[in-house]
Symmetry: C2
Subunit: 328 residues, 2 copies
C-alpha cells in the first residue's frame, strides 16, 4: 500500500512536491490544500483532489503525511504545529535563527497528538546541515565553510522588486572562486562577507525610471547588498523572461581539519550541489523525508525530528538488505 | 563518564583510532590488544594498557566499545562476530561483495549477546555509501558515479611488491579528470574501467633486475592493472621514502539526475574527500560510529547495523539542541 501524501500550499514548492511524488512509486498524492478557491487551481495529478485549506482536518484519516509548502516567515510557524495535531508533517522551515523555537512548538504539538513532525528539510537547512554535522563529528579539529550559488535568491529578488521604478528583477548569488580555492587548498582563510560571495542583479526598469538611482539604491541596501560587491544589469522584460526565468541554485559545504597525534595530517571534505530547480530539488528531499516520517510514525515514534534524527535508510524505498547489497 | 574504547590490532588503522580518540574528549582509550608480544609494542597513550588478543574477553566489563582494526580478507570475518559475543564492536570491513554475509554473521552474534555491532565503517564503505544512499533517495531518476584517488592503493602496492625483482613499490590510483568533468556537466557518460582511472606505479627494483620485464608484468597483471592505462616509474629507495611515504587517498561520489513532471530539470550532487592519511581519516569515522554504537546499546538496541541505520546525531558529542542551534 502506498504512502498517502497531502500538500498544503501550491506554489513552486507544492508543485515540486507533486512532481517528486510522481518519481516515487511507493507514494501517492491524495490531496492539495489551498487558500485560493479550489475551483481555480489546476494541478498535474489527475487522481488527486483540490480542497480548501480549512477542510484539511476532515481528511486526517485519508492522509499519512501532510507536507507543508508555505513560507517560513509567517506560514510555517503557525501551520506546522497546527497540522501536527492531525497529521504526520514535514516542512522546510529555513529561518535558521528561529529553528530552536519552531522545534519546540512542533515537538509539543506532535508529542501530544502522537504524530511525527520533521522540520527544516531541504538542502539548507537539510542536506547541507547533515554534511556539516557528519564532517564535524569526523574532523573534530577543523573549520567549516558554506558557500551558496550560483543561484537565484528569492529574498534578494523580492528586495529589488520593491524599489521604485523597478518592474521586475532577479538576483544571483555567486560564490567567489578564489575564496573557494583557498578553502580547498586548506589555507583556513578568515573570509569576510564580501570575500565569500558577489551579487549580480538583472533589473527591468519602468519606462523613464532613473536607472542611476535604482542602481545606487540596490548597491547600498542595508543587509541585502551593502556588504557585497554587487553588479546591476538593466535588461528588457523579454530578456529577463528568455534568459533568467529558471530558479537554479546550489552551493558548497566544506570542512577542512586535521588528524594525527600532533594534528600532522590534513583533510578536506566537500559536498556540493548544482541545481537547475531549487524548489524541485528541495521538494525531492522533502518527499524522501515524508517516507521517513511515515515509517517512524508506524514504529510508534512521536514528536519533532530534524534530519539529524532520521536514520538514513528510512529515506529509501529499498529495504536494508538491498541497500547493503547495492549502495554500501 | 567517558566512553571506554578498546582497540584490537595495532597497525596503521589501530594507531589512527588511538589518535582519533585523543581528538574526542568524551572517549578514553583503555586497552590495545595485539597478537604480537605486548612487551614489544609501544603505544602513544600513556594511560592505556597493552594486552594479548586472547585476553580480551577478560576485559569485557571494562570496555564499552571494541574497535576491530584487522584486515577484511581473513581477520574481520572471524573477529567481528567473535568479539560481538562480549563487546559492542565497530569494524571497517570493506570487501563490498561479502558485506551481506558478514552482516548476517555479526547480526547473529550481536543479537544473541545483546550487543551492537556496526560494520563497514570508514569512507568507502562508509561516508561514500551514505552519500550514494542519500543521493539515490533524493534523485530517484539518476545515475551514480564513484571515482577514487588520487591516492595509494594498498592492494595494488602489495601486488607490485610480489613481482620478482621488486624490492619496494607504491601504486597511486588517479581519477581521469576529463571523465569527472563529463559527469559533472551532466552528460551521463557510460565509462569503461580504463576511462575512469589511471594507475601510476613507483617501483624500487633489486639491483640488476630486468626493468623491462617488471614493467611488462605490472602492466599486464590481470584484475589489478590490465584494464587500466598504467605508468611505471623506477626510482631509488631513497626517493620512495622521501617522496612517497604518505598514505593519501580520496575520491568523488557524484549522482546526476532529473526532477520535474517531465524530468525537465537536471541536478548534480557531489561529495568528495581529499585525505592526507587514509587510515587516520578512516579511524576518525570509526571513532564517531563507536560513540553511536555505545549510545544505541545504552538505548537497548542490539544486532548488526551499518551507516545506513545510524541516526546522524548519534555520531556527535553535541546534544540535539546544540546541533540544531549550530549546525542545522
Amino acid at each position: 500500500m502506498s504512502i498517502r501524501i497531502g500538500i498544503m500550499g501550491y506554489g513552486n514548492l507544492g508543485r515540486g512536491v507533486e512532481c517528486a511524488i510522481k518519481h516515487n512509486p511507493d507514494m501517492e498524492l491524495v490531496a492539495v490544500f489551498t487558500r485560493r478557491d479550489p475551483e481555480t487551481l489546476k494541478i498535474l495529478t489527475e487522481t488527486a483532489g483540490v480542497y480548501r485549506a480549512q477542510d484539511a482536518e476532515k481528511m486526517k484519516d485519508k492522509i499519512d503525511v501532510l507536507i507543508l509548502c508555505g513560507g517560513s516567515a509567517t506560514d510555517l510557524p503557525v501551520q506546522t504545529p497546527k497540522y501536527a495535531q492531525w497529521f504526520n508533517v514535514v516542512d522546510s522551515f529555513d529561518t535558521h535563527a528561529r529553528i530552536p523555537e519552531h522545534f519546540d512548538d512542533v515537538d509539543r504539538a506532535a508529542a501530544e497528538s502522537g504524530h511525527v513532525g520533521i522540520i527544516s528539510v531541504g538542502w539548507d537547512p537539510g542536506m547541507f546541515s547533515l554534511n556539516r554535522m557528519y564532517a564535524n563529528a569526523i574532523l573534530t579539529n577543523g573549520k567549516d565553510y558554506t558557500f551558496w550559488g550560483k543561484g537565484v535568491s528569492q529574498g534578494h529578488s523580492d528586495a529589488i522588486r520593491r524599489i521604485e521604478g523597478v518592474k521586475d528583477g532577479k538576483q544571483y548569488t555567486i560564490p567567489v572562486e578564489a575564496a573557494l580555492e583557498a578553502v580547498r587548498r586548506g589555507e583556513d582563510p578568515e573570509l569576510t562577507t564580501r570575500q565569500k560571495h558577489t551579487r549580480e542583479c538583472f533589473v527591468v526598469a519602468e519606462e523613464g525610471a532613473d536607472l542611476a538611482r535604482i542602481e545606487q539604491e540596490i548597491k547600498t541596501m542595508p543587509n541585502y547588498f551593502d556588504e557585497y560587491d554587487t553588479t546591476v544589469h538593466f535588461i528588457s522584460e523579454e530578456e529577463l523572461k528568455r534568459d533568467y526565468s529558471g530558479i537554479p541554485h546550489g552551493g558548497f559545504v566544506i570542512r577542512t581539519g586535521s588528524t594525527g597525534w600532533n594534528d600532522e595530517n590534513r583533510h578536506v571534505i566537500e559536498y556540493s550541489l548544482k541545481l537547475d530547480s531549487n524548489p524541485e530539488f528541495t521538494s525531492s528531499v522533502i518527499v524522501a523525508y515524508a517516507r521517513a516520517a511515515w515509517r517512524m510514525s508506524q514504529e510508534g515514534q512521536t514528536g519533532c525530528k530534524t534530519v539529524f534524527d532520521v536514520p538514513p535508510a528510512y529515506l529509501s524505498a529499498l529495504d536494508g538488505a538491498e541497500l547493503r547489497r547495492h549502495l554500501l
